[in-house]
Amino acid sequence: MKPEDWRRIGLRDNEYEMILNILGREPNQVELGMFGVMWSEHCSYKHSKAVLKTFPTTGPRVLQGPGENAGIVAIGDGLAVCFKIESHNHPSAIEPYQGAATGVGGIIRDIFTMGARPIAILDSLRFGTLDDPRVRYLFSGVVGGIAGYGNCIGIPTVGGEVYFDPCYQGNPLVCVMCVGLLETEKIRLGKATGAGNLVILAGARTGRDGMHGASFASEELSEASAEKRPAVQVGDPFMEKLLLEACLELIDGGDLVGIQDLGAAGLTCAVAEMASRGGTGMEIELAKVPCREEGMTPYEIMIAESQERMLMVVTPEKEAKVHAVFQRWGLTSTTIGRVTDDGLLRIKMHGQVVAEVPARSLAEDSPVYYPASSKPAYLERTAELNLAEIPQPADFNTVLLQLLATPNLASKEGVWQQYDYMVRTSTVVRPGSDAAVLRIRGTQKALALTADCNARYVYLDPYVGGQIAVAEAARNVVCSGGEPLAITDCLCFGNPEKPEIYWQFRQAVEGISAACRSLETPVTGGNVSFYNETKGEAIYPTPVIGMVGLLSDVTKACTLSFKAEDDLIVLLGESFEELGGSEYLAVIHGRVQGKPPALDLAKEKALHRVVLAAIGQGLVRSAHDLAEGGLAVAVAECLFEHGIGARLTLSTNGLRPDSLLFGESQSRVVLSLPAESLPALRELAVREGVPLTEIGRAGGDRFQIYVDGVPRVDLPVTELKAAWQEAIQC
């Protein structure tokens, strides 16, 4: 072996040294390739492992934390919810449709691998600015790919988010979350136990596509990666639908000892992880692996990342039945090996050993790095925001119209109308509100689902930004009537070997952890995507939070829209002079500056208690959290569905009018309710010490805002809605 041999596949010299020590000899090409993919950042988390250990991962409801294919939390009635989010950024940057589609396919496999029936998908997307034709191509391609795969396999895409910022111009983010339901005792793990048990490979045939996808995902996007293009593959949602049904049937029948999907690092990763988790070994005959192409080498078969494949461990008695089930579903399944007790992966081709390595060494003993970290210099620059330099807008009508029409705030209907968000007829709160709500058949319960992250906040203060990402997700869940249960996270950052990037990463994780502790939403799993850079420029640190909440009574599900004339409009929470990091500052004044709004987790939690009680007792007709665009934008969003207007009368209490209307102070929710409910609501608010302000009434067909008696905004709802609705064409 020469240095270029291991460097070519992304292994460092010290890592090659480790391999020599593990094997006590030189690896051969196949073995080297296996280490190469397994020790890639994507599979080994070598730069993030140490930090991820600091997440709070336990709680009374947590049945499965990080480490398996997906996390699981109990929701009563013997049921549990299984969920996970994952990114497919780099493939999507090169082939947006297939990159996004295979991302959806991959995360769905993670869910049914655990024995859960996938019931929902959410997509969290970030692109450059839409004036760039390449970005428009990526945008429509990615959305088309998610629609193409999700719609075909019949799992509703019920929520997500879309942001546009120059920092994503060359490096879009495509994170997909899948949520599944299962009966608690049907949980299956990716474990290979019982020496003598058989190893079965099912689904698609193995082709040369996706070569080195894992190591590819662990490199900065450069001109060079154009040459690695074969790393992108075509998804086959039809095949996956059959695979899904067949696997769930087998799991239901208790016919499997263990099951694991083939994702990054293909067969190598699946056999290594299953054996390692089971403390066993495996003997695999590659000649038995059904291949799509002639003359594939052992090396290629071991690292190919062909989609829509599953690996199972079964007892010899069940072998025939398992094959029969796959056959009825029109799928190929092959027994390719058996479980051994010597902890070794013994890979053979036509009976001849081509690789022999300890399973643990691939899955567990990968290097762990503790990169240097240092506070980024840019924070000095961004921190100083002198509001005196920011002129008050002359005309608040124009500002509000401009804000509603900015891609980050505008309606995303152009996106989600391309998704089948109704299939399985359980979607009670559809896209367009805060969190989506799905009923759980056979119970009175429902799930509230959301995916959120304001990356600009994280950029301006990774710690606070990380906290806010969790808090906003929880606020969305709460506004839909759900009690936040747990999160999954998709941590998208730049190159971790740069101290300033690693500092962002550590701070963000600390912030997320702090928020998860106080809001009692443990981290049950997630995914890290580093090296999101183009030409050395990193994206904003973007830790996307996927959250699951529970409603005990589906009929209590709440949406953000005002529903009746003359309803009172009430603001919960407090508004401060906080324009830092706001959409208003960025769009109207062209500044990404200041500190993000402050977050007090105790106040946040208190707010949640008030809103949940108010919704639970049926006091309110709508609830909507205040996010980008602040109070004025949040209330505007409440008017559009039913075309009901509103008249707000606000007092500045020393705040700048623009802070009052467009500032993004945290822990605030706007409610609408019949007047007679107000006393009861006030009582709740007082008990929890949450400030409550009556700010106006719903009604008419105009949106009017008076500030200290001065009319600041007065526009027809139809005009506002048009600006908001027509901004994004996809």
Partner: protein
């Protein structure tokens, strides 16, 4: 009466139709696996929505050759009630049980949203419980619901009352804006000459519970039940 929901590989609204009939309508219903060769014992067959065989090549093109299809065709020819929803509609046209064809929406995009349907013919087993011109709120979810049929055939179909539903605006006007996919004459659903086979792109099984936003879809299934009770066939 007993409903049968045919399950093709890649069907994914089979479960929704099944639940609506069993849990909301309260009628007996069973799944029928596409490999079955008989549909004996069933009184109404539902070909559900989804992506049979991935909708590869053309929507419904491969499914129409499923082992169960000869039995379905035979059932229909003898007056049995057949309801094709979305992909089911596409399969019925491919199988020649309904005229015309469905292809890509003019937007070239998948569309999922509630639409307003105007009832054009109430003299069918599926719509007898409805009023002429009645407006129904029923969602669509398809990428290829653009119905085409040659002008001559279209005239005959109009004359024979084979147009059952059209996309309309909230006032019941048949406008281009109300047409979500470019289908000729805003056609959303049609029946065969003998009116025992109905194909529609919108999903009545998704509009059966207030919790989900509309109960208008249920009216179709109630019509079928009434028709059956009166034994008027």
């Amino acid at each position: 009466m007993k409903f049968g929901v045919i399950v093709f590989p890649g069907s994914n609204c089979d479960l929704d139709a099944y639940h609506l009939v069993r849990d909301v309508l309260g009628a007996p219903v069973e799944y029928i696996w596409h490999a079955e060769q008989s549909v004996a014992g069933f009184d109404c067959l539902i070909l559900p929505g989804g992506f049979s065989y991935g909708d590869y090549l053309r929507c419904g093109a491969i499914a129409r050759f499923s082992p169960v299809m000869p039995a379905v065709v035979d059932f229909a020819r003898h007056g049995g009630l057949v309801l094709g929803i979305c992909n089911g509609f596409q399969i019925l046209t491919e199988a020649g049980l309904l005229p015309g064809a469905l292809y890509a929406n003019t937007s070239l995009q998948f569309r999922c949203r509630f639409t307003t349907l105007r009832v054009e013919n109430t003299d069918t087993p599926f719509t007898r419980g409805l009023a002429p011109g009645q407006l129904l709120s029923i969602p669509i979810a398809h990428g290829e619901g653009n119905y085409y049929v040659d002008p001559a055939t279209l005239q005959e179909m109009e004359a024979r009352g084979q147009i059952v539903f059209r996309y309309a605006d909230r006032e019941g006007r048949i406008t281009p804006e109300a047409n979500p996919n470019g289908s000729v004459g805003n056609i959303a659903g049609i029946c065969n000459e003998t009116r025992n086979v109905l194909g529609m792109m919108p999903h009545p099984e998704r509009a059966g519970e207030a919790l989900l936003g509309s109960t208008d879809g249920l009216l179709l299934f109630k019509s079928i039940l009434d028709y059956w009770k009166e034994g008027s066939r």
